[in-house]
Amino acid sequence: MSGARLEIIERNCKGCSICVEFCPKNVLEMDVFLVTVPRPEDCIKCMQCELLCPDFAIKVHDE
């Protein structure tokens, strides 16, 4: 089930934390104004983070 690669487009991220809050698996964390991915192995590829990010700043790659 694991094996997602989460890509953060740092240039676009505005640090709103929507992705962190709505991730059902607590994969993401804020590092002040930038999102980070401390637990990629827990990702279930539900796509909530990518769908809800207003800034085209997070992508869930299948690999």
Partner: protein, 272 residues
Amino acid sequence: MAYDYEKSIRPGKLPHIWCPGCGHGIVMKGLIRAMDTCGLDRKNTAVVSGIGCASRLPGYLDACTLHTAHGRAAAFATGVKMAKPEMNVICCGGDGDGTAIGGNHFIHACRRNIDMTYVLMNNFIYGMTGGQFSPCTPTGAKASTTPYGNPDPIFDISKLAIGAGATFVARTTAAHPREIDKLIVQGIQHKGMAIIEVLDDCPTTYGRRNKFRSVIDMMKYLKASAVPVKAASKMTAEQLEGKFLTGVLFHDTDKPEYCAQYADIIKKAQGA
């Protein structure tokens, strides 16, 4: 997996101008997915807006876009559709643009049932100009112009559209991203005026004045306040207090579409 939005965005346009957490970006992604699902040729698709934060949306899209005067999206879009009925026409804009200064154009486009899809981002406020109240600011809510609370009742945009004659009317929220494209797709496929109202968050000028401590509070509020029409039919008026109905609220396929009617007039005038 990862969706390729970038192919639909003009090169070099990101990051966009919207504030951190502004729902307009979520709506733009939904619109891009819907345009892809419908296979719209971007050279044959006009995306038209008025003025406001929401109305900045078309400027990012690689399509035929028109950023017009405040409140006039529906009027310009009507002109485009009449001149080129074969084009797909999509309007987008905010609650202030569409129901205050542009309310007249909005209701008359609905009345004519002209074939277009209007994505109206209702964030309950004039975001761009600093948070003045709009016809969609809830009664009692605070805006920069209603520091003691808004005394006005609201326009229910979807009911307004149905009453004015639009033939496809649907509602969702920025917290329901998959429903955004699903409803816009249905709107695009519908022959006639389709209104998709997306309840949306403006953390900067609405949220902070109205006890939403963060954008997350606003998103949770939108998520919790949406009741799908089917579920609503089993609920009491009390349970529905303060909630929004979501999904397809109205769909009529019988009313004639305006461009088709107009084509008949042209034929008559030509003596055919």
